[in-house]
């Protein structure tokens, strides 16, 4: 006997998604708008954008994602892309976007005055917004800073089993190795990478914070990490973050007097105006806002990154770490040498 049963549950589930899907997001708005594709995560950019809207009345629409994926989207959307500004957290992707013809040159005296030439595209396609340094961190008491000098010296067997560094899949490591290739050549750098692999305290895993925590817990004496992770940990209310961070100190490698003295490896986060932009003036206005002294101070204060603009007051945490010479390598090189860096690390067995 098969009683007929009605499927109230199945029929009752709303087709909300469909309804939603039909709504188009980019309605023709009366207020001025600028559309932003951002590789910087929402929490780390939204407050600035809100302030921009308050000051100028220009609304900012935001999509965040991985830079490579955003580039792919931009490329496919072509001239109809709604995006006006592309924001990335490394120079390599800005270079890639430019090479693919996705960006346009823009002129802005404000930007030219605010940002040193090293951190801008020579043809005016993009500008850096903040600096991200990747120095050596050491455990206080375990390592005497006088033992440290350069990135290159970390391949010395005396560091065997004492270094924590994350995977070679990570773009910060790829950029670091690209900068080494630029300075020392491929062969020397490959030997260096083999040395680093031999000196690793454990197979690479986790993010930058994990390396700092492992060092603080005694698993290794040296960690390589971007400074803003350390700053974030120091500011945290969570003792699980704060305490490990307090056990390590920063050493700025490759300073004048050690090695070639080219300076510590830095990368930039930056912005470009898209080739497809229908509102380039507002796009430039947004970029100018992002290099204004207030925005620059905000990067330093909230994100723990270094401002690209000189003379901006930096947060006490950053000030305490002192000044350092940054590698003045042409940032475009980082993009160009990225693939070579990945292959080199593959060959060296850097997981």
């Amino acid at each position: 006997m098969i009683p007929f049963r009605h499927h109230s549950l199945l029929a009752g589930l709303p087709l909300l998604g469909l309804v939603l899907a039909l709504g188009t997001p980019s309605a023709l708005a009366e207020t001025e708008e600028v559309n932003l594709y951002s590789a910087r995560k929402e929490a780390l950019i939204k407050p600035l954008l809100e302030r921009f809207t308050e000051e100028t009345g220009i609304e900012v629409n935001l999509v965040t994602g991985k830079a490579d994926a955003l580039l792919q989207r931009l490329k496919n959307e072509g001239r109809n892309s709604p995006a006006d500004v592309l924001l990335t957290v490394d120079a390599g992707n800005l270079h890639r976007a430019k090479a693919a013809g996705l960006t346009r040159a823009f002129e802005s005296e404000t930007v030219a005055e605010a940002v040193p030439e090293t951190y801008r595209d020579p043809e005016g396609h993009w500008t850096g917004l903040s600096l991200r340094a990747r120095p050596i961190l050491y455990v206080k008491g375990e390592v005497d800073p006088s033992e440290l000098s350069t990135y290159e010296a970390l391949a010395d067997p005396k560091w065997k089993g004492r270094i924590c560094i994350r995977s070679s899949s990570n773009v910060y490591n790829q950029s670091l190795v690209a900068s080494l290739i630029a300075a020392d050549g491929t062969e020397t750098t490959e030997e260096w990478a083999e040395g680093i692999v031999a000196n690793m305290a454990r197979p690479p895993k986790g993010g930058d914070r994990d390396q700092i925590k492992a060092a603080a817990a005694g698993q290794c004496d040296i960690a390589i990490a971007n400074t803003y992770y350390l700053a974030g940990m120091l500011k945290s209310d969570d003792p699980g973050e704060k305490e490990p961070a307090e056990k390590v100190a920063i050493f700025w490698p490759n300073q004048p007097g050690s090695g070639d003295g080219r300076g510590t490896h830095v990368n930039v986060s930056g912005a470009a105006v898209t080739a497809a932009s229908e509102n380039p003036d507002a796009a430039v206005e947004l970029i100018e806002f992002l290099v204004s002294p207030e925005s620059q101070a905000w990067y330093a204060e909230v994100n723990g990154e270094y401002p690209v603009r000189e003379g901006v007051e930096i947060s006490p945490v950053l000030a305490e770490w002192g000044e350092f010479k940054a590698d003045d390598l042409d940032l475009v090189k980082l993009g160009e040498l990225n693939a070579a860096a990945v292959k080199l690390m593959d060959r060296a067995g850097w997981k």
Binding site: R5, L18, K66, G207, K351
Partner: protein
């Protein structure tokens, strides 16, 4: 007697029938091709020369990708089979304290995204985490003085994935056990087989198609996982694809790696087909009186309790507890009004995609059943391929044809009428939902097909012989028998979409966020505590449907 069919079947006019004959295959093949388009776009890159990268890959990292992916699949297969089948058997066939609770609670880990559980366990168990720190504080040991399992390792990754994926096997295995004719089991018992023997020699082989279907879902999910293996530093196919695409800047080689990954999926699908073909079991009896569950006592009951409690605790209670603890520390700053919007976005997308996926799965499933010609069979297989492909790859596969279509329409409109239509589909939720369908159709399809497989064709024939029209066969025979499978299909896709991240991230419209996006952005920034409220909300949002549907599945068994 609820059935009151007309005594004489009405004969359809010949041309209408012919129309029907062509309609099904055409519809099925069209839908399947549409859904296969993104995968085809990616596979199309196989013909783009990738340069010397391949030699480099083969010499350096490819062997690792292959062996790690295989080992990971093996680990997850073991974990989900033992956990999923064992708990399904215990909760459906035995009586022990807590059984009724476990019945639905065992599904809870499904709501936990794999990368979140990975982050959570790392936070708890890593060298610098509270557990090991406590051990060191108590004993005074330092690094290297004691042995502690490495959570961030290949076995660790297999464990994490097993903990959140075993519910797939549990769900399908349980539905199969519940729908098994008790006569068969009774016969086995009266023939002198003990409960264990009955389980291994009768129930398990009977449930095999369902178990293998659940297992192949879990394994495809394993192959597509990126977050967990990436965080654990285990190089697999997915991490390799990203590395080749982004790091080496070689999309063609990355797509070719994806195509290689698809070869794994084909193998899985063939295995599943083969297993189903080997054992085409259908229920032989409609007499499924309520199950007389084996009453477990004492040590046995405690063991059964422990066996069910373990995956629930490790897969849900412990990580959810940790997330809750983290959430408390940041609740004031993270739980704002925006949170409601995030939750609503996530739920609406998940519900919409689940209903659509079910509708399509039914269409394809029936097309396959009614007209099992070779092209239809192939089309149905191809439509489910997207499940094992990493979300980002699917997203790119969706993006390329959508943008092409938009730009072509725009160019034509500009040339013909001087109007620019801009992007019509790209950057809308249509693209997002389409990507979900491509990615998750396999889930509903597998479930619907495994349900359809239990309905003997002879039942259709009997129904037709009794004068039921096809639609009545559907409504009066199939639907009641399928209800459990349909609900399962809805639930699985719903939860999958709720957790989905990469495709949402890249295809979504401006200013549109979901819980998964929020949780990921913070977690990947290594702000675990800040991401906890969003992660916990995904889990909580997944709970309600999990509970409702799990109860309905139980009831659908009872109502037969």
């Amino acid at each position: 007697m609820a059935v009151s069919a007309p005594a004489v079947a009405r004969h359809d006019p010949v041309d209408r029938r012919r129309f029907g004959q062509h309609l099904w295959p055409t519809l099925v093949i069209t839908i399947a091709l549409l859904l296969a388009l993104p995968v085809a776009v990616v596979v199309g890159f196989v013909f783009v020369p990738a340069g010397e990268v391949w030699q480099h890959l083969v010499e350096t990292v490819l062997p690792d990708y292959v062996s790690n992916s295989l080992l990971l699949m093996l680990g997850v297969a073991l974990g989900t089979l033992i956990g999923g089948v064992g708990t399904a058997w215990l909760t459906s066939m035995c009586r022990f304290p807590g059984r009724a609770l476990f019945e639905w609670a065992l599904l809870l880990p499904m709501a936990m995204p794999a990368y979140i559980i990975a982050y959570t366990y790392t936070g708890m168990l890593d060298f610098a985490g509270p557990v090991q720190t406590l051990i060191r504080d108590l004993t005074g040991w330092g690094w290297g003085d004691y042995w502690f399992p490495q959570i961030r390792s290949l076995p660790g990754a297999a464990l994490m994935l097993s903990l959140v994926l075993y519910p797939y096997v549990y769900l399908l295995a349980r539905a199969a056990f519940l729908s098994q004719s008790l006569c068969v089991l009774d016969v086995s018992r009266t023939l002198g087989n003990g409960p264990w023997r009955t389980f291994f020699t009768v129930a398990l082989p009977l449930a095999r198609p369902a178990i293998v279907a659940g297992l192949s879902l879990a394994l495809m999910e394993t192959l597509a996982d990126y977050g967990t293996v990436q965080y654990f530093g285990v190089p697999t196919f997915t991490t390799g694809i990203f590395r080749t695409w982004f790091g080496l800047g070689n999309p063609a080689a990355a797509a070719q790696l994806s195509a290689l990954l698809l070869a794994f999926v084909f193998a899985l699908i063939l295995l599943e087909r083969w297993s189903r073909g080997q054992a085409r079991y259908h229920s032989t009896s409609q007499r499924q009186q309520s199950i007389r569950r084996l009453h477990l006592r004492g040590g046995q009951a405690a063991a059964a309790f422990g066996f069910c409690a373990l995956p629930l605790t490790l897969g849900f209670l412990l990580p959810a507890g940790q997330l809750a603890a983290w959430s408390l520390t940041v609740a004031d700053q993270r739980l704002d009004a925006e949170f409601a919007t995030l939750a609503l976005n996530s739920l609406a997308l998940a519900a919409g995609a689940a209903v659509l996926a079910l509708a399509l799965a039914l269409l394809l499933g029936y097309g396959h059943r009614l007209r099992p010609t070779k092209p239809v069979q192939a089309a149905v297989r191809v439509a489910g391929l997207g499940y094992a492909v990493p979300g980002t790859v699917i997203a790119v596969g969706v993006m390329i044809p959508f943008a092409w279509l938009d730009n072509s329409v725009d160019a034509w409109m500009r040339a013909t009428f001087g109007i620019s239509t801009g992007l019509l589909l790209s950057g809308t939720l249509v693209a997002v939902i389409f990507a979900y369908l491509v990615r998750f159709l396999a889930v509903s399809l597998q479930t619907v097909e495994s349900g359809l497989g239990k309905i003997r064709p002879s039942m259709d024939e009997a129904g037709r012989a009794m004068g039921l029209r096809p639609r009545q066969v559907l409504g009066r025979i199939h639907m009641p028998m399928l209800q459990g499978s349909l609900l399962t299909a809805l639930l699985l896709v719903f939860v999958d979409v709720l957790k989905e991240l990469p495709a949402t991230l890249i295809l979504r419209p401006f200013n549109f966020n979901t819980l998964a996006v929020r949780a990921y952005e913070l977690a990947s920034d290594e702000r675990l505590a800040d991401s906890a409220p969003a992660a916990l909300t995904i889990v909580a949002a997944g709970l309600i449907p999990v509970i409702i549907l799990s109860r309905s599945i139980t009831r659908s068994r009872a109502s037969l």
